[in-house]
Amino acid sequence: MSRQLPPMGPSDHGRVLLAKEPLVFHCNYYNYYLQKTLLLDDELGMEDVITDAACEVGYAVLRGATNAGADPQARLQMAQDIFAQLGFGTIDFSAVDDNGGTVKVPVSHYGRCMTMAAPDGTEFERPQNYFDAGFAAGALAAAYEKDPGAYAASIQVCQSKAGAPGEIQLSLRDAPKDIATACGQGHHTDDVPPPPAASNIDEPAVLEALAGLDLGGNEEGLIPRFGVMLTFHFANFYNRISFELHRRMGGSGLEEAAEMLLVNAGYKCAFHTFGGIMTSGEWDAVVKPQIQSKEDWVHGMVACVNALGWGVWRVHELTEDKLVVRIWDDYESTGYTGMYGKANTGISFLAQGGVAGLMNLVYHADVSQKPTLDEAFYEEIFEQAGGFEPRQTKCQAMGDAYTEIVAERVK
């Protein structure tokens, strides 16, 4: 598929940068449960945080596109192509000009795919497409070389509620709103150790095989893969919205509760995405032939994680009751330090959920038997005794050399 995109290429540590913005793969389950967490407290103003974070990255990626040309219409065409390529859907800027206008989103990951991730029968009362709104505002501001906060975005229609194509109204503000500046890829570590010798998994071969998969948006701008809907999303979008929730919960007595739910969103992601990968034809063809032990399931999935842009994961210790993963340049730490400086507590919530989720899949749910990874199975496994709980023992954002997550079986 021919799309006009900003410079996009691999950086170190399995990252991909799009006009210097780091991208990470995440699925509709993570996007749904993360957003659900963010929007729990109506008084925190998180709808605006999500919209502004999307504006931040949408603006950054288009302004960073050295090949976008000077014509606003060409820039908006690039924005449409970016939106589709990264799996957000199809966005149409044809009815906007520098004063704003109506942006149509005939297909939206957030509009359509949140309903797929939610339990059957879930009623959607609020829109889900805040990302689309913010991205549209940021893209329009970039196209017309205005301040990033030049346009207000108002969601008129969201597919999650109405079923009809999404509509966003953009209008020029009297004075631009302050929008944060995206921090790019952030910190980089040079000395990352190789994968452990104890593994039978050839990680470079796994990464090479994954690089051959077409993981770009299809013609409607969605990425149906591994039983989920993927997005090749902006790491700094996730970081902004997650850490802003954490910050706004400060002093409420509910900080730990918020952290638990951020971790839980990562756990949900692991169940569906890791589980989807480990029960896929791609896995059977590329990874399974190398597997000689239960431990190799963990090593194999860690090899795949290293293609997701999440940082470099290394298994430090592994038994059937415990996994210790060390992560260099986990995207949460690099984003946090880029945005806020040094952290005074562990902030790698997604990583915690991912590590616990991986162990639950391999040693608690026995993913090697290819169970159906539906909501009923999730609940069954979650309720059973003997599952794994994570804790963060080191955090690169706190100044440690690497981030360390421990997942241990609860006895």
Binding site: T90, A209, N218, E220, G227, S280, V286
Partner: protein
């Protein structure tokens, strides 16, 4: 050819159907037959180690994948296809599959 259709229950809520087939399906033949019945397909291949995945897409309507799993042909509706189109496309696909 005899087949059994089952929804992929994991996700995509009805978008993804798995067709368990009684014999291996030649992707090129399947795709050509679909085109002869009126489909306009974009074809592609992916290499998964020793395995080749054959894909054919009728844009904004459906995708067919042969080779992801032995004995299974995957049929995925596109999200933007409406209910009428999905019924038509599934009927077309099943008609062609049955004739193989």
């Amino acid at each position: 050819m005899h087949f059994e259709a089952r929804p992929n229950k994991r996700c995509q809520k009805g978008l993804h159907l798995e067709y368990v087939v009684e014999a291996s399906v030649d992707a090129a033949t399947l795709f050509t037959q679909l085109e002869q019945q009126g489909a306009t397909l974009l074809r592609a291949e992916e290499q998964w180690g020793p395995r080749t995945l054959h894909r054919a897409v009728q844009q904004f309507r459906f995708e067919v994948r042969v080779g992801a799993q032995d004995g299974v042909v995957d049929f995925l509706h596109r999200a933007s296809a409406d209910d009428v189109q999905r019924r038509e496309d599934r009927a077309l696909f099943e008609h062609v599959l049955a004739q193989l």
